[in-house]
């Protein structure tokens, strides 16, 4: 997972796989809707984090679907 200056830069990148177009997500929205919100990211320093990681991740896939516009690229197996 890498950062690019814009979607155009991803598509121009020598390593870009056209099948991964759904793998492009805007960083600011990703931060606002996932990384700023979910305990999975917020509570990693809690001593009991590992016990609660599943609970702390609840709703994340819905948020990811929202950020990706429902792309199948971001659906789990």
């Amino acid at each position: 997972m890498n950062l690019f200056r814009s979607e155009e830069h991803v598509r121009r990148w020598a390593g870009f796989d056209p099948a991964s177009a759904g793998g492009i997500l805007p960083a600011a929205e990703l931060h606002a809707k996932l990384f700023a919100r979910f305990g999975r990211y917020r509570e990693r320093l809690a001593p009991d984090y590992l016990y609660r990681v599943a609970e702390l991740s609840a709703g994340m896939l819905d948020a990811l679907a929202e950020v990706s516009g429902g792309s199948s690229f971001w659906k789990p197996r």
Partner: protein, 153 residues
């Protein structure tokens, strides 16, 4: 889930935050007051849990432990102006603010296409600055396949 595993996880995360590097399993053993071999086995269990944490292949050495990388890369992380850390990837770079409460976290990365700078500034749960504002994250591997080869995602 066992208590020792949770403790080992916490020791690894704390070590990254405090020093910028992963502990060796003998460090984990010393902190836990256990035998090195027991800590080595715990570390292997910890990195087999379908979390984004893994060892360097064929070794007992932590390569990456989200959101940190133990291998220097192009996602350089500074806290209050001191560069000591590396982010696991572009995605996990966005999670770093939470691990340094009340401090300013700067991520200096580069675009793989043009080589130009990308900068993020985080403070707690806020993304304070993003340059350029058009920055995107990209995975070449669908989420469903991340744990087949997470290093290539």
């Amino acid at each position: 889930m066992n208590e020792e595993l949770a403790r080992a996880y916490h020791i690894v995360m704390r070590s990254f935050v405090d020093t910028g590097r992963a502990p060796h399993y003998t460090d984990i053993a010393r902190e836990m007051g256990t035998e090195p071999e027991h800590a080595r086995l715990l570390l292997h269990e910890l990195t087999s849990m379908r979390l984004p944490n893994w060892l360097s292949p064929g070794t007992d050495l932590i390569a990456s432990f989200a959101p940190f990388s133990n291998i220097p890369n192009h996602h350089r992380v500074s806290v209050d102006g001191e560069q000591r850390w590396f982010a696991q990837c572009g995605l996990e770079a966005l999670a770093l603010g939470h691990l340094f409460p009340g401090r300013t976290v700067d991520v200096a990365s580069t675009c793989l296409d043009c080589g130009d700078a990308i900068r993020l500034t985080l403070r707690d749960a806020s993304l304070v600055a993003l340059e350029p504002s058009s920055v995107v994250a990209h995975s070449n591997v669908p989420l469903a396949d991340w744990y087949v080869d997470v290093g290539k995602s």
